[in-house]
């Protein structure tokens, strides 16, 4: 990120929501810059949808402040907020044509009919569906309805577009296509988008920043790379991408390097760290499967293990190893599938290792 000054579109401080004694969202702070694509990611029940619906004004917070364009709208009605929302099931009005659906927000804003029609047509062109204006929602495919829902939001250029698991109902192939489509539209329109999903791959693909939520709190907020390479908690390491998490305790730590003794085995390994750690701290050492290499090399920490299972998942082959030296649980590693990799039969012993920069020590949650 450069040093250019961007204006803050959405600013949340101390926002909280309770249902009876259940806290759906603990006091939360968050800022979203103009033109940013921010994803609220998390398992179900993590509070991401609660947060989104409070931003939309569809549920009322129990505390905190919410500013859109520097205007306090904490308790404002949805129609006063200058937001657009794409619902999970699109929420297109079944009794209106596509053109009427898209023109609806303009009509609410008292835009005159001719302007509304031409702007609706422009929005349809933006989503590459200029020919469906006269049709009704149920005559369109899921992917098309999705784009119309987006066009209906973009047509009045709201400050923020909120999207609630918009691709949840689509099949894998269409979903990937729509991810690219939404990225393109985001780029072309320059809109600020707050996007909710539980699909970590989707979040990685699309976002400028990811706000990973868990148990009604923000677990970590940062770029996809931040979260992937520098997780702050074991939850983050586990949620984003596959990882081996080895239990251990820090014996020594300085300038981003730590020495960790693995629990139960006593093996000492070196790991990178992005947080201040003190000796004795309980940590998990995260090693990504694709960073574990079969064979041994000089700058690596090397171990041996017995092959429990191998499986070709497509482009990658996964290998499950039992390595009592470092963990009681199987270690998973992966490498590009090739004809030569087939001779790692079950039961054979292999040497493996990783570069210490690929091992990251993450403090256990207290």
């Amino acid at each position: 990120m450069g040093a250019q000054v961007t204006s803050i579109k959405l600013s949340i401080s101390g926002l909280t929501k309770r249902y009876g004694s259940f806290v759906a969202l603990h006091p939360t702070d968050l800022e979203v810059a103009e033109g940013e694509f921010l994803t609220l990611l998390g398992p179900s029940g993590s509070g991401k949808t609660t947060l989104l619906s409070m931003i939309a004004g569809l549920s009322v917070p129990d505390g905190g402040r919410l500013l859109i364009n520097d205007r306090d709208v904490t308790y404002g009605a949805p129609y006063e907020r200058d937001i657009g929302m794409v619902f999970q099931n699109y929420a297109l009005f079944p009794h209106m044509t596509i053109a009427e659906n898209i023109a609806f927000p303009l009509k609410m804003r008292k835009v005159d009919r001719a302007t509304a029609t031409s702007r609706a047509q422009e929005a349809l062109e933006l989503v590459h569906l200029p020919h469906v204006a006269g049709r009704f929602p149920k005559e369109l495919s899921g992917g098309q309805q999705q784009r119309i829902a987006l066009a209906r939001c973009l047509v009045y250029k709201p400050s923020i577009v909120l999207m609630d698991e918009p691709l949840g109902a689509l099949d894998k192939k269409l979903r990937e296509q729509m991810q690219l489509e939404i990225k393109r539209i985001h780029r072309e329109s320059g809109t600020t988008i707050v996007y909710v999903t539980h699909d970590q791959e989707e979040a990685m693909t699309m976002s400028d920043r990811i706000c990973l939520m868990n148990g009604g709190r923000i677990e970590q907020l940062g770029s996809p790379g931040d979260l992937y390479f520098r997780p702050r908690t074991p939850f983050v390491a586990d949620f984003l991408g596959e990882s081996n998490l080895l239990q251990g305790a820090v014996t020594q730590a300085e300038s981003g390097q730590a020495e960790v003794v693995l629990a139960g085995t006593g093996t000492a390994i070196r790991a990178s760290t992005y947080q201040p750690l003190s000796a004795g701290a309980a940590v998990r050492v995260m090693v990504r499967p694709q960073n574990i290499v079969v064979g041994s090399a000089s700058d690596q920490q090397s171990f041996t293990g017995r092959v429990l299972d191998t499986m070709i998942t497509g482009g990658l082959t996964k290998l499950y190893l039992s390595a009592a030296q470092i963990s009681n649980e199987p270690i998973v590693l992966s490498f590009p599938t090739s004809v030569n990799s087939q001779d790692l039969s079950v039961g054979s012993t292999v040497a493996f290792g990783w570069a210490s920069s690929d091992a990251v020590a993450v403090p256990e949650q207290s």
Partner: protein
Amino acid sequence: MSAAPAYRPVWLKPAMMVAPLILTFLVLLIYPVGQLLLLSVFSEGSFTLGKYKQLFSSSVYIDTMLITLKISLITALLSIIGGYPVAYLVSSLHKDRKSRWIFWVLLSFWTSFLVRAFAWIVMLGRNGVINQLLLALGLQDTPSNMLYSFGAVLVGMVHALMPLAVLTMLSVMENIDRNLPRAALTLGARPGTAFWRVYFPLSMPGVAAGAIMVFVTAVGFFIVPQLLGGRKETMITQLIIEQVLQVMNWGFAGSISVLLLVVVLVVFVVYDKVLGLSTMTGEQSEKTIRSQGPARHIADGLLGFLGSVSDRLFALMPRARRREQQQGDSVPLRLAVVVILFFLSIPALLMIPISFAGKSELGWPPQGFSLQYYQEMLASPLWLSATIRSFVVGLFAALASMVIGTPVAFLLVRGRVRGKALLLGFVLSPLIIPRIIIAVGMFYFFSSVGLVGTSLGLILGHTVIATPYVVMTMMAVLRNYDVRLDQAAQSLGARPWQTLRHVTFPIIAAGLTSSFLFAFATSFDELTIALFSAGGLSSTLPKQFWDEVTLQVSPVIAAVSTCLFVFIGILITCADWLRRRTSV
């Protein structure tokens, strides 16, 4: 293993499943009604329009028809206006809270029309609750005559039919995506506009279906105008009854029936032309969506106007209120719904204290406490035999309608046959044809085969009436049933009948029971057919009730009403509990 599977004609199975129902309806519904209609144009074997000349020569019949239409129209209108908020609120609630509210609608829906009309006689009487209330409030000095008036009939009619309007609208509103008005809010619409431009147009099929159901039922109504109306509020059905029971002029009764039937059919045809009959089942029809041109522009303008008016009204409310408003669940709405449900339930509930009163004047407040009317009721051989007969008839009619209705429900839900819509229409025809026409036709038919005054005749008649309810409830049960369970059973080696016995049946048993209870309740509460076919001496409970209440208004009837009300309450609770247990 045999070399080739046994040959089984494909047509055999579906045909066998519908045959009993179709035969029953042909003999007990189509033939008698057809005969009655023919009777109106044939006299001593030759074609004549004499009956119709008589019909149109005097203004009495046309005037009565006009009054009937007027009362029915206002009833439909008021039922919709009152029922809409109830259906709106109930459809927005979560499961368990929903069933608590809807219980009161169901309770009054299934409480006998007779009990409810009688309750209004008591409420509106000179010493009734309403007069006492007005006196106590100082709004009047002497009790006024409220009974036997247009107003009394309207109150009774709306009270009788509003639950039907609520339930019909509810079935449509439950299918409206609640995210749609919310989406409208995020797009900049204020709550009033979101309601009128998005929610209301989507609920229109329910409104239309509710209105037509209420209207058609009201047109064929006689209990309320007979008990609460005066001479000026006579409705067309009362004339038919008079012709059959007093004048014994069947042919003329037939021609009045034709007039009634024609009116009902015209209403249905107009409805179909404007909205499409498919909306009756709660589906969005192409017609409602597709309508274009000036009508649409007018509607658009009107809805926009209503929206902005409502928004101005909301803007007057305090801010906290407004926030509730946009969640679609506000205090004023709840209050309105409570008032309406109170109106629906209170008359029957007030029967309870009155039935335990010590003095025999049916006034309010009830004086003293005694069980004398219950003793009187139990001591009366008339009430006792009527009760026994109602139970016997109800049980057998419910069984019979289950036997002929269930296979058809299976076929309609699971079968891949053509003409399903037609079949469904045929099955539901006893609900569409005014009950009085069916009753008179059956009476004529039964008298020619010696079934009048027999339990068998009543059972047959009630079977026809109860079958549509059985098919509808069973269809709902079967739609919720996962067919893959059957397939799983068969893949595990179960033969079709084993599958039915060990898998399908145990799972839908509760649904079957609840559908049986609904059928039983339908028969147990049936008056129109019993009025003619029950014969003089041994009547059913509703017939006995009717004979008593038209003769004199006695406190014993309050006791009977209380018993019926409690009994139906228990029945509904059981049936609803069973239904919900199957649907989760």
